[in-house]
Amino acid sequence: MAQEHAYDYRAVKGFAISSLFWGIVGLLIGILISLQLVYPQLNVTSWLTYGRLRPLHTNALIFGFTIPAAFSIFFYLVQRLGRTQLAFPGLAKALLYLFNTAIVLAALSLFAGMSQSKEYSELEWPLDLVIVVIWVMFAIIIIGTIVKRKEEQMYVSLWYILATVVGVAIVFIGNNLVVPVSLFKSYSVYAGANDANVQWWFGHNAVAFVFTTIPLAIFYYILPKTTQAPLYSHRLSIIGFWSLVFAYLWTGAHHLIYTPLPDWIQTVAISFSIFLIAPSWASVINGYGTMKGQWEQMRTSYLVKFIILGITFYGLQTLQGPSQAIRAFSALTHFTDWVPGHVHMGTMGWVTMTISAGFYYMLPRIYNTELYSVKIANAHFWLVLMGQLIYSVTMWITGIRQGAMWQAMEADGSLVYSNFIDTLTPNYAFWNMRTAGGIIFFAGFLLFVYNLYKTIRLAPKASSA
């Protein structure tokens, strides 16, 4: 602890708090839109309609929760793994203010219906420019710190951090090339099928460089740290890293199966999607391998539970995803609630669990204290696990059900359920269960925030400066 003061944790703390705050906002909107799907009277005014709030939910949890969690934890990791102080601390402070201002403006613009309409690229061009500035500042701090590091070797987590820095930059800029017609309105430079192809190249690689490399960077650091066991295989992490970063970019068109996009692009995407199982499972195997002889820690350590369940959901997610890419599977589940079931096993299981573990590991350390309550952390664990399972399982069931009803045909070639509404209404019971799952998950998240709040409040004052 003697040299603890040598690190600069101000931005780490600021972004942690931002992430938790926007996380609460994003989850509340998730619960609201889940309710709106069953109770349309909850669409009370134009800016509270489902069509405007759904992008707010996704943007709040991607840009408001996951990204600042990455800023926070990455600013910690680059210092610890490089044994050096954060580069450009003044820039990091400016970044914190700029970031939160941008998120407020982003939320207001989505309420107002300003949208480029492409999923996760909804924000209009002036905000896109701000995001580019934010990302450049982030990159300068991360790369600056890594360049002046004192530990020669860059550990695996730093590779995933660097991949996040360049990957997000490339796909974000590629998908947001637009021609403005006014301050609040623009048109994509791409048209039709090309626009769709670029969009899902972006979309799937938002999954790669936000929902995969960010939690993986955290995972590779805190798993060996927490278990005090050496990482199972470095060779595996090297192979896993480069093949993951290579293969992800070829798979975007698995979102466009059976569309008029040229068939070869779809087939290439399907093949690479299946190949992706290998690099994804490299990390899963690394996780389980590291636990060899240590499994009793699943009982004794709440942190290990978060990490191992997180990587397990990652493992399931990366088996389910490639299956969905197959034509016959896509024909049944594409466009149905199966897909939100898939999405939320990844986001509520893998991403949120791993980020939670990251904060639980990091925050007590930088405040020179212990976690306020392990009991609450355990309650948090069980609630988010239950909430997520309810969400995913109900959506898988009703997704298959609806997909099957859409397909059902009589012998004479007519549809069994020719009224769309008859295939929709059975969703309501499942959506209500999903809302319940969401509320349980949210309760767990509130316990998490409370636990961290108490931890910080009760920390010895001298170190929290």
């Binding site: 069509g51 992008p55 530990e151 860059m154 048209a191 192809n197 066991a229 480069w242 970019l249 040229p262």
Partner: protein, 201 residues
């Protein structure tokens, strides 16, 4: 004491000691699939059909499309009929490249909370849409679509219409623009809906 020895012994390639080289390699790796599956096809033109037979959007239809985007209708409705028997039986002809050739952005969608709309313009008359948009529940008591009655109370903002048509390169006349006077947002979105499925001349 900052880093456990046992988690930093990665010594297989030297690239993990050279961050700038590492970044260059990562960018090249990322660009391979990016170019091969996305940007090279863009320039090959295999996904860009001829626009010869395509009806351009009228000024009113385009404004309607922008309202569709503003309201996020694409969060619940696809515009993509797949070439599968049960899809064409429900919605009509499957979607082709030509259908969306001039669409910037595309509106294919990813979730069908409501039905596909790619061919909806062939299905109902304007009067049906007015009632349905104002209160979907009056048509289908169990529908979960939000009511959009307020669109009928809002005058269409035509300040940027000409700039939009120019940006997209759609042909228009002064008379087309003048015809927008007095139109509401409801008129515009319904004009757009009526066009869906009638893209070709």
């Amino acid at each position: 004491m900052f880093v456990d020895r046992n988690i930093t012994e990665v010594t297989i390639m030297d690239v993990d000691k050279k961050p700038v080289l590492f970044i260059i390699l990562a960018v090249v790796t990322i660009l391979a699939g990016t170019l091969a599956t996305t940007f090279i096809p863009l320039f090959m033109g295999t996904a860009s059909p001829s626009r010869e037979n395509i009806k351009f959007y009228t000024a009113l239809e385009l404004e309607g499309r922008d309202i569709y985007i503003r309201e996020g209708c694409n969060n619940c409705h696809t515009q993509m009929v797949r070439p599968l028997k049960f899809e064409t039986a429900r919605y009509g002809d499957y979607s082709t490249l030509a259908d969306s050739a001039i669409d910037r952005p595309h509106l294919w969608g990813s979730k069908r909370t409501g039905p596909d709309l790619a061919r909806v313009g062939r299905k109902y008359p304007a009067a049906w849409h007015v009632i349905h948009m104002k209160s979907p529940q009056s048509m289908y008591p169990k529908s979960n679509m939000p009511p959009y009655a307020w669109l009928a109370d809002r005058d269409l903002n035509t300040k940027y219409t000409e700039a939009k048509m120019k940006t997209l390169g759609y042909p228009y006349t002064a008379a087309d623009l003048r015809a927008l006077e007095g139109k509401t947002e409801m008129d515009a979105i319904i004009a757009y809906l009526l066009r869906l499925g009638n893209e070709l001349r």
